[in-house]
């Protein structure tokens, strides 16, 4: 049993992370499928799957929903099942506001506030926070033996993992505390710090924005304690013993550089890295003895083949060197190489990828 197999048997949460364009989402799905085939009830949560992969998992854009959908026929194991969910940060955020706002009128005030809309849409790390929020909901539901969550490309992955901590910091920000204090209108926000802040915003972006800011912070204030607690729980979950991080990379230097940076960041954050997967590795041709190679060959089909043979051999050497750098950094953590396979867009492709992942 290699370490990935152990992870799939024992972990309750697997987080895949890595640079963009290395097949991270496919890897997450293949890991989930493999675990389902071993008899576990598994859900794979993705952020932004390529269309054909999403189709294969039955979570194409049109079917985007808040609830997990079962991938029918994914596994023949009597006890196993595979579920998929495409994360929609905005709707998760909206739902959370509705759940916690207390009454519908208040929820509506928040949901239509332009500041809220911009935060929920894309800015301020809200997407990342919502991924964690949704993860926490799935975890608490106890409906799954294993949750495999795919993170956005690396730099954003660190944002994602830090989101719960950041939210807590946000609520501790002096500006927030002052503005959110009850019973004050803008005219009565007398504290020098916040008054200057609002004055600066007004000067730059106009009075409407200032009103929106005050209203937004005000409406959030009752929810603060709940959000804080949730954030703290999520932060603990990500560092739990049953949580395993799987770092996915390709052998290209830029990807390896980012992956190396991630290894450090995970360690610094106390996130348990359990395996490293290097995807998209080119095949190494069997060496041909120099005396077997024809010399001074004019252009032609055989010359084409020999040229390509030399290119592939050079590429393999170069890739091996890059992978060694990551192997050294990863230390005791197992590293699995996965050969380049064609664009994966169905369950067969995921099964093939899974075979390579489990060695």
């Amino acid at each position: 049993m290699n370490s990935i197999e152990t992870v799939l048997h024992e972990a309750g949460l697997v987080v895949t992370c890595g640079p963009g364009g290395v097949g991270k989402t496919s890897t997450a799905a293949a890991l989930a499928l493999a675990a389902a085939n071993s008899g576990r009830r598994v859900i794979v949560v993705t952020v932004d799957p390529a269309r054909r992969l999403a189709d294969a998992l039955g979570i194409d854009g049109s079917a985007r929903s808040h609830d997990p959908s079962e991938v029918v026929g994914a596994t023949t194991h009597p006890k196993g099942s595979l579920w998929a969910l495409m994360l929609d940060a905005e709707s998760t955020f909206d739902r959370m506001i509705m759940d916690r706002a207390g009454d519908a009128k208040r929820a509506q005030t928040i949901l239509t506030n332009p500041i809220y809309r911009s935060i929920a849409g894309s800015l301020g790390g809200a997407q990342e926070y919502m991924a964690i929020e949704r993860l926490h909901q799935l975890w608490s539901s106890n409906e799954f033996d294993l949750i495999v969550i795919d993170t956005p490309p690396s730099r954003h992955a660190i944002d994602l993992l830090g989101a719960p901590d950041r939210l807590v910091t946000f609520f501790s920000h002096p500006i927030y505390r002052i503005i959110a204090a009850p019973g004050r209108s803008f005219a009565r926000v007398t504290n020098a710090g916040s008054a200057t802040f609002l004055w600066a915003v007004r000067k730059l972006a106009g009075p409407k924005v200032v009103e929106d800011i005050i209203e937004f912070f005000r409406s959030l204030s009752g929810m603060e304690a709940g959000l804080r607690q949730r954030a703290a729980e999520a932060a603990t979950l990500l560092r739990a013993e049953t949580t395993a991080f799987v770092l996915v990379s390709s052998p290209r230097a830029e990807a390896i550089d980012e992956a190396a940076h991630l290894v450090d960041a995970l360690e610094a954050g106390g996130f348990p890295l359990q395996a490293v997967v290097i995807n998209l590795v080119h095949p190494t041709p069997t060496p041909i003895a120099a005396k077997q190679l024809p010399k001074d060959l004019p252009p032609g089909p055989l010359a084409d083949q020999l040229e390509f043979y030399r290119d592939l051999a050079a590429l393999a050497t170069d890739e091996a060197r890059e992978m060694d750098r990551l192997r050294t950094l990863a230390g005791d953590v197992a590293l699995v190489e996965v050969p380049l396979i064609d664009d994966i867009h169905d369950l067969d492709g995921l099964t093939e990828l899974g075979t390579h992942l489990l060695g």
Partner: protein, 327 residues
């Protein structure tokens, strides 16, 4: 143009050139190669990284990029005049510069920095992007280089980045932010001042994504699109479609059984890549009426400064025009 390489017509069309593409397709490589091509033709090039990526510096043989401009390459060009400078632009930095430029004195500057950009940016959708684009607009206005190449955030983030100005025009009715949004929108929409270079790979998912991106940029934002750059193309080698035995016969050479077996494997792998790639070229021909430049896949895992010259050479080739675009 200096006595060096001849730069293609499209590269000289605008001063500002924004390079966009999904993570992993090589936008930084393409931005750097374009800089090399333009500089070797005698242009004064400024490379700007907006995603906090410092790696463009070392790729060009310099130090990692930072907020102040550094000279990356000059004497390498026979033309003598061409040079490449590089820098990063982050929202924070752009914000400080902006306040200074607009003559906002002590109190607002202090207030703004105390409030932390995060909060102001959180309060105003697209503000961070707008600040960065505003700085680029300023560099354009000052004519601080013949060519300003912007390595944009990855697709997914590229559209919000480029859309920030028009979004803010809707959200903010008046004031300095509105003025800034108006000016940035004017720059982006001006096909004589700014164009976008999209980068993709000859693979299914990147091709799907670039088709979507093209429609966003063209239909929705009316940006000028430069030729599409397809990075990482396997060089065409007709001999890969044959068995090693047939290839050897054709060239009147005898090979050992062992050698034939190895070459058969190699050729089969190569041909399968070429077939997949041809499929994607056909899809692009069909669905994206945009001229294209193909950059070769080099047999290395780590690109070195010398490789950029090879890619620059490939970029200099006149783009091919698919039939769908000729109509």
């Amino acid at each position: 143009m200096g006595p060096g390489r001849t730069t293609p017509e499209w590269l000289g069309r605008t001063r500002v050139l924004v390079v966009v593409g999904k993570g992993g397709v090589g936008t930084s490589t393409v931005a750097a190669s374009m800089a090399v091509l333009a500089a070797s033709g005698g242009a004064d090039v400024l490379l700007v990284s907006v995603d906090g990526k410092a790696g463009l510096g070392p790729l060009l043989g310099g130090a990692p990029l930072g907020p102040s401009e550094q000279l990356l390459r000059a004497d390498a060009f026979a033309a003598g005049e061409g040079r490449i400078r590089g820098r990063t632009i982050t929202p924070k930095q752009a914000f400080g510069d902006y306040l200074e430029l607009k003559g906002f004195g002590g109190i607002l500057r202090r207030a703004a920095s105390a409030a932390s950009l995060d909060l102001i940016a959180g309060a105003t959708p697209g503000m961070e992007h707008l600040l960065v684009l505003g700085k680029i607009k300023e560099l354009d206005r000052l004519q601080s280089a013949d060519l300003i190449i912007v390595d944009a955030p990855p697709a997914g983030h590229a559209t919000p980045f480029l859309r920030s100005a028009s979004a803010l025009q809707t959200a903010v009715a008046s004031g300095p932010v509105r003025d800034q949004a108006d000016e940035v929108a004017a720059l982006l929409a001006d096909h004589a001042r700014c164009q976008c270079v999209m980068v993709t790979l000859p693979e299914e998912t990147p091709v799907n994504e670039v088709i979507e991106l093209a429609y966003d940029l063209d239909h929705e934002l009316s940006l000028a699109l430069a030729p599409l750059v397809v990075n990482g193309c396997w060089p065409q080698r007709a001999g890969l479609s044959m068995t090693a035995a047939a290839a050897a016969r054709k060239q009147k050479v005898t090979l050992s059984v062992e050698t034939r077996r190895v070459l058969d494997d190699v050729a089969r792998f190569g041909q399968s890549r070429l077939d997949l790639q041809a499929e994607q070229f056909a899809r692009l021909d069909d669905r994206l009426p945009l001229s294209r430049v193909h950059l070769p896949r080099l047999p290395v895992a780590r690109l070195l400064p010398d490789h950029l010259d090879v890619l620059a050479e490939a970029l200099a080739v006149t783009p091919t025009i698919p039939a769908s675009a000729a109509k």
